[in-house]
Amino acid sequence: MSVGRAASAQPLRLRTETRRWGEEAVKAALALCAFISLATTIGIVAALLQPSIEFFGEVSVVDFFTERRWAPLFEPPSFGVVPLLVGTLSVTLWAAVVCIPFGLGAAIYLSEYARPGTRRTLKPALEVLAGIPTVVYGYFALTFFTPFLQELDLGVGVFNALSAGVVMGVMLLPTVASLSEDAMSAVPRDLREGAYGLGASKLQVSTRIVVPAAVSGIVASYVLALSRAVGETMIVLIAAGGLPQLTLDPREAVQTMTAFIAATGIGDVPTGSIEYKTIFAVGLTLFAITLVMNLLSIRLVRRFREVYE
């Protein structure tokens, strides 16, 4: 590099003798950083696939999806994943019962009814709910909500799907509210003003104009929230139980896919054993389900954006 004298005072040399190796090295290092995120995905897929392939070498895929008992440690072992799927479904269902209507309601209020000042304070306040760690929600479900349900004399057990599901719904409410509200704000004002001009009430404008216009964004938020519900671990691990029962009765304990993976992972499973491989087989099922849901959600958001942006 030149030292001291101006570049223009030196003999004219516009070519660099060597390529700027420093610049090349920097670019390579940065590309390596970017590659790490790619490597993560590759790693996830590889980590899930390999043991799963081995697993399905020993257990038939048909049995996996049709057997109605999940008891990998029994003699003889039973590898039907259906109870875990039903457990996940049961909890997700109750989460949906909470976050779908109330999430949308909160979004409508924030978007159509609240004054700008109110919205500015309420929206971040709602986000606080989303920032609370899931283990805290699990604690809340087990030590507050379940006893509350038991007071109601409904016959809920200490571990039950209802408690976990409802609390999970509360946790997901801000996700639905936030994304739905974004979708509704993207609806152009003239649509609303046209309707108000015709004498429509706020109720009619919200439900007949805005929500239908924003529907793919709203549905995208539902799909995203439910995908998070399917993948959620701590709330169900703490409050829903560890018993893989094939039941949709919310008062019973169930085990979800995620809770099973966690419970097995905590224990000391010998590497390479069939029990070890169940972690990956169930994990692959879980990953596939959430992947499909996420891709669907992205598709919906993209379609929504095309219309309005």
Binding site: A106, P133, T134, Y139, V167, V170, A177, A262
Partner: protein, 292 residues
């Protein structure tokens, strides 16, 4: 207007008002569900936990006796984890953001794949990251169930957050500054490192803090990577470890009522840390937000 129509309009209006009022009530109820739950949670945790919030909690190791049990190894574990995550996630995340914004040719397919990939990663369930850690780090690399493995997995988990926030901050730096720097004869890296990153630093810092706040509360991946639920000694980077959310989980799972109260106290500590971090991030953003 005839009398009959007038009556008709008025009664329709009345019905409309009732319906509107009910709807409004439902909307407010929706908001209430969230806030009442939040209030109940905070109140419950404070009520149960404050009596147990004392020096013992912070300085003692857990024990079978709830009166003498503390969360020190867990708190230390969380602090070490956060330190390591910060050291790993920020350089890699910011480096990725710089690559995508300043160096990568958008037209190339592999760069578009990278962007899509980051979007997908943000939505993967956290326990799957735990499975990744279990397969590659604990068993594969033979690291074992150590703090470093936990930190690495948490880094991968929060990386998308750092990347997205850094990209936005970098994008907000106007091109006029870049062009002026290039026109002076600066190389690309000089432009990026001496002008773009310093101008984007507030957004990058805020994003990093938010990523860290997310990492602090994560439990599931750590469970799989081997955070033990009963650790009575202080953690080291290549040794067994535990963390605050794990300790909360362990105490919550115990049948004795006293441990559940201890869990509440530990939750207060965790929430206090989170509130501080988020407040700091918001303050940073407001104070140093540069409007170009």
């Amino acid at each position: 207007m005839s009398a009959a129509t007038a009556v008709g309009v008025r009664s329709r209006a009345r019905r409309g008002t009732v319906r509107a009022a009910l709807f409004r009530a439902f909307l407010l109820l929706s908001l209430a569900v969230g806030f009442v739950a939040l209030g109940a949670l905070v109140a419950d945790v404070l009520w149960k936990g404050i009596p147990y919030l004392d020096g013992i909690l912070l300085t003692e190791a857990p024990s079978a006796d709830p009166d003498g049990a503390g969360a020190r190894p867990a708190i230390l574990g969380t602090i070490y984890l956060m330190g390591m995550v910060l050291l790993m996630a920020v350089p890699i995340g910011v480096g990725t953001a710089i690559y995508l914004e300043e160096y990568a040719d958008r037209e190339r397919w592999y760069n578009r794949l990278l962007e899509l990939n980051i979007q997908n990663l943000a939505a993967v369930p956290s326990i799957v990251y735990g499975i990744l850690g279990l397969a590659f780090l604990v068993r594969g690399l033979g690291l074992g169930r150590v703090l470093l493995a936990g930190a690495m997995i948490l880094t991968l988990l929060v990386l998308p957050i750092v990347i997205v926030a850094s990209r936005e901050a970098i994008r907000a730096v106007p091109d006029s500054i870049r062009h002026a720097a290039y026109a002076l004869g600066a190389t690309k890296w000089q432009v990026v490192s001496r002008q773009v990153i310093p101008a984007a630093i507030a957004g990058i810092a805020t994003g990093s803090i938010l990523a860290l706040a997310r990492a602090i509360g994560e439990t599931a991946p750590l469970l799989l990577v081997g955070a033990l639920t009963y650790v009575a000694f202080d953690p080291t980077p290549l040794g067994a470890f535990t963390a605050l959310p794990i300790q909360i989980f362990q105490w919550t799972a115990r049948p004795q009522e006293d441990f559940k109260l201890l869990a509440a106290a530990a939750i207060i500590v965790l929430l206090a840390i989170l509130v501080t971090m988020n407040a700091f991030a918001i303050w940073l953003r407001d104070r140093y937000q540069r409007r170009f």
